[in-house]
Symmetry: C3
Subunit: 348 residues, 3 copies
């Protein structure tokens, strides 16, 4: 579990929902153990600075917006949006080292992404496509949970949906049949793809509140988990025969899920998510119903993950026994470990 105590830096992390950073407000949030301050400049562009004054480490989030600048309200240093100190009380000379780090930030589809590593490697084209979070063809509700657990325990959970039959038996999951299926797992560079089809079964419990069909359905969950923890998932159900892998998904309940797990510290995490429905998009009762089902389900996940973290705390080095169902999970952990090791090697 050594990967749990180091963090990938050269990657895009989801830092916040757009609405968390108000026009004149400030958001303090710690990511990969770095305290950060998020705010918007006059043009509304999000700025991310170290939330630690270069002088005596006071948090700038306890400071004051002054136009396009932030003043540290401990001893009065003023920083511009690039992190450069532009005023120091009682001295004219501003040393070049008087600055706080500014991080590359991209706001896209209601999510604010941050690059914690080398700024010159921060290529926005590497940001996963989460357009369904903000797309007229999809409806969903912004979600956030704070976790008292290492982030990899959350991505583990996302990478093995056999837990749906047990953790979410009466909510998002369903019968043990679901767990009995072997998903197709593919590694793609910096992501793992999981494809799982359940053919000719009853609709999942949560789905029965959203849509009715005369008979059984085919159910699919096809998703990528991208480093270091972004899930993009096409899921849904359609009448048996029309949903199957090559089916045309007629009369389907289709969903797209975007989820992002961002490490706060080694032992705590941020979890951002939106599960959107692509059918009945003008029916707000479906949106609300889905919101409630997702929250209930994610609370079930948190319950088992915190319990798991507690057990791991008692004996962090006790072994885990790999099962076939761990294929995706193990691939992803290996990918994380390798990426972190490569970053470290490049620094030496």
């Amino acid at each position: 579990m050594s990967t749990g105590t180091a963090f990938l830096k050269n990657t895009w992390y989801v830092a916040a929902w757009s609405h968390e950073i108000a026009a004149n407000g400030m958001l303090a949030r710690t990511i990969t153990r770095a305290p950060l301050l998020f705010w918007r400049d006059g043009a509304g562009e999000v700025v991310a600075l170290d939330d630690r004054c270069c002088h005596r480490a006071a948090p700038l989030s306890k400071g004051r917006r002054e136009g396009e600048n932030i003043r540290c309200m401990y001893h009065g240093l003023l920083f511009d949006k690039t992190g450069k100190c532009v005023e120091i009380p009682s001295q004219e000379f501003i040393p070049p080292a008087a600055k706080v780090r500014a991080y590359p930030v991209v706001e896209r589809f209601k999510w604010v992404w941050i690059w914690m590593g080398d700024a010159d490697k921060a290529d926005p084209s590497l940001i996963p496509d989460t357009h369904t979070v903000d797309d007229a063809q999809w409806r969903g509700t912004p979600g956030y949970l704070h976790y008292d657990a290492n982030y990899l325990l959350i991505t583990d959970n996302l990478l093995d949906f056999s837990h749906l039959s047990y953790v979410h038996e009466t909510t998002l999951g369903g019968s043990a049949k679901y767990a009995g299926i072997r998903p197709k797992v593919t590694r793609n560079g910096r992501s793992v793809r999981v494809e799982r089809w359940l053919i000719d079964d009853e609709p999942a419990p949560f789905l029965r509140k959203l849509k009715t069909w005369p008979g059984n359905v085919d159910r699919w969950n096809i998703y990528d988990v991208v480093l270091p923890g972004v899930l993009l998932m096409d899921s849904g159900s359609a009448p048996t025969g029309t949903g199957a892998p090559q089916g045309d998904r007629v009369d389907a309940a289709q969903f797209f899920g975007c989820q992002a797990v961002t490490p706060e510290t080694e032992r705590t995490s941020h979890y951002f998510f939106q599960q959107s429905h692509g059918f009945a998009i003008d029916d707000s009762s479906v949106t609300e119903n889905l919101r409630q089902s997702v929250l209930a389900g994610f609370q079930e996940d948190m319950d088992i993950i915190l319990a798991q973290q507690h057990i791991l705390d008692l004996a962090p080095d006790a072994p885990m026994l790999a099962m076939r169902m761990d294929t995706a999970l193990a691939s992803f952990r290996t990918m994380v470990e390798k990426a972190i090791a490569e970053e470290r090697a490049a620094c030496e």
Copy 2:
């Protein structure tokens, strides 16, 4: 204090009161830093398994009873009462390593005992005799306290009753005369025996609520503390002259106390106890009165022990100065250290 951070494994620990493990229930309890799950099979026999799934370390206590088996409700592994995994979703093959450890358990006189070490050494005849906890000739009330302190601070307390005059001056103890007596201390293999007689003194404060005599009494506390922390105590008072070591204990108030200290972690402990009276056994007011006195007294013990633990936390390595009254305590600590060292040596 190094003994406080290691635990004796090849020994019987009290794990629970029988009533804590209901017929269809599950009890999660950590002992010697190992998370454990207790439940009863169809025959009512107590089963103790590691409360940590061999797969991803989820606690089985968050799982589900399925007849004689327990299903982990994270990813659905099913374990039988021997700890063997008998079902893994989505795979036929069950690797031999797919199991959780099952521990030898004996239920006797309302207490559930567990053996944390080598199962083939788990000889039930080594279990101390606590029959008074469940014996028609004795009456008492089950007690349990959770301690935020190392277990040896609790056994220290039990091994030196000179504290009765100070910690329990107005409850279980009495005057300084009691502390002034030198008990006879004997080592017996894996236990220490302490014998203390106070001849011709007033009855202890708690005793005055239970029984009256025209004059002074002889008072005795004769007890063994058995590794790693079980106290068995014959105590009582009888009119002066009849109670004394060779006396016939006519018109005596006789008690038998069974107490067990079980380490939960290095810094927390379980404390099980029943103080039974062997006189006036059909008088429930005596039972209730005794229960209240014992709880009040044990709260006094906890108060001083937690304060002591707090002081030790500030400087764990500061020296302690041995007194003559520490004879039993020191013998017992030496016994614990030696037993742990022997266990470790045997593992190398």
Copy 3:
């Protein structure tokens, strides 16, 4: 920040307000990680002993006063006011090592000072002059705050008053002009002197509630911070021209502040203070008003210092960038480090 985890021993620390140690009471307080017990002997003299019985480390503060002695209420050892054990239950012989450490204590001007180092170096003439805390010419109110922060973060705060313009903008401080002034900083052996004059400015916000003048004032803060953390400050305001460095301070509002920062542990501190006014001393509304302003201001300090401590906890070794305003702070930290290093060298 290595100085934060060691403590100067050969120095006088403020341990308590006199009124915290009642005639027959006991005060338990930890200083430089040592648990201490304070009480008064028959003559009313303060006694300070290790609050840890030499026997089994129980705190004597859970014990009992018996005349001029203290009895440990765990196992009954009795200690006199020199810390010598004078009675041990059940044994006649009292080993010479049976004692707890007694510390040199001086009670002066309502404060109790303690010397944590070598007793033979405890020269009372080294105690800073805090007579204004108990002087008919001055009025003030005893103050105490407990800090969840390292003590040097508090002395840092006291050594750089440029924070008045930011942390205390609307209370004790005022405009940014104050921060713009460069104080005169002088090192004097074991103390740092800071002199800061603000000429011809509006009275500070808190001052407007205490006294009115027709026009602007000259404002001064002249103070010493003495090892390891005692501030003695002459401050005030007087009509412009009369207050200036060589002015006669006619119609002035004069104050004297005594503050003492005493480390409790590496991560927690005691903060004692009294801000006294030397004008309108018979006007209790001025005293009360000043008390409220000081408390409001010190709460602002605590708010920023705890935030700073939180940021430092995330990355204790991240660098700080020295500014010119840090002259006094840096001198003082260097002085602390040097004094601690010298003490250590002397022990080797």
